[in-house]
């Protein structure tokens, strides 16, 4: 399946990229998406995740065509 992965703010800067596409087969969770995109690199504590622009937990599932995003705690307002 095909997943679009996006990173924002300090996480984007730390990784040095803002967006990538992953292709793989089989069921997967949001946490799996991070692990495949960033092998041997832990997702920083307190990071937030979204699928299709809604907040999710790391063990929530992803499906073909999803947009998955990882980012630090928000600091707007």
């Amino acid at each position: 399946m095909s997943i679009k992965v996006r990173y924002f703010a300090s996480l984007k800067e730390a990784l040095g990229r803002s967006e990538e596409h992953l292709e793989f087969s089989g069921l997967a969770s949001v946490g799996d998406v991070w692990d495949r995109a960033n092998p041997n690199k832990a997702l920083p504590d307190n990071s937030l995740a979204a699928v299709n622009m809604d907040y999710v937990e790391l063990n929530d599932p992803v499906k073909d065509g999803d947009e998955v995003a990882f980012f630090p705690p928000v600091t707007g307002g």
Partner: protein, 148 residues
């Protein structure tokens, strides 16, 4: 209801005035308006701050703000809401966020405006990076709570 993401500086009082006067059906119907404005300060955490870059997640930011406003409308009898949030490069003394709520009675306006602000602070995807006088840049790591 109006939610705006805004890449240029705006005058919050003119924005509210323009919104209120353009909504002719509001006239005579609302008794209370509660407004919150967040403004960039020129110091933070003991450092002089020259400017700020505000990043957001186009699409998700709007979606989350709409969800937050919908939650407020479910909880309180709200007549109208205006939310404006800056993105991009911001200078000290420029407004960052504006939340205005129109209701019949004051308790609802106070409660709904504060609810929207607290939810925005904790859930709307915006990120601030400060540019210090020393030229150093730093990402803010966490919003302070509004002891709500």
């Amino acid at each position: 209801m109006c939610i705006k993401i805004c890449a240029e500086a705006f005058d919050p009082w003119q924005a509210i005035q323009a919104h209120q006067y353009s909504a002719k059906e509001l006239a005579g119907k609302f008794g209370a308006t509660a407004v919150f404005i967040g403004t960039m300060r020129d110091f933070n955490d003991g450092d002089q701050v020259k400017g700020m870059a505000l990043e957001y997640y186009p699409g998700m930011t709007e979606k989350q703000l709409e969800k937050i406003v919908a939650e407020a409308l479910q909880q309180w009898p709200v007549i109208d809401v205006l939310v404006v949030h800056r993105v991009g490069d911001i200078l000290p003394n420029e407004p960052i966020v504006l939340v205005a709520v129109w209701t019949s009675h004051r308790g609802d306006a106070f409660d709904a405006s504060r609810y929207i602000m607290e939810a925005l602070k904790s859930r709307a995807p915006f990120w601030k990076k400060e540019l210090l006088e020393s030229q150093a840049e730093r990402w803010l790591v966490k919003n302070t709570d509004g002891y709500y």
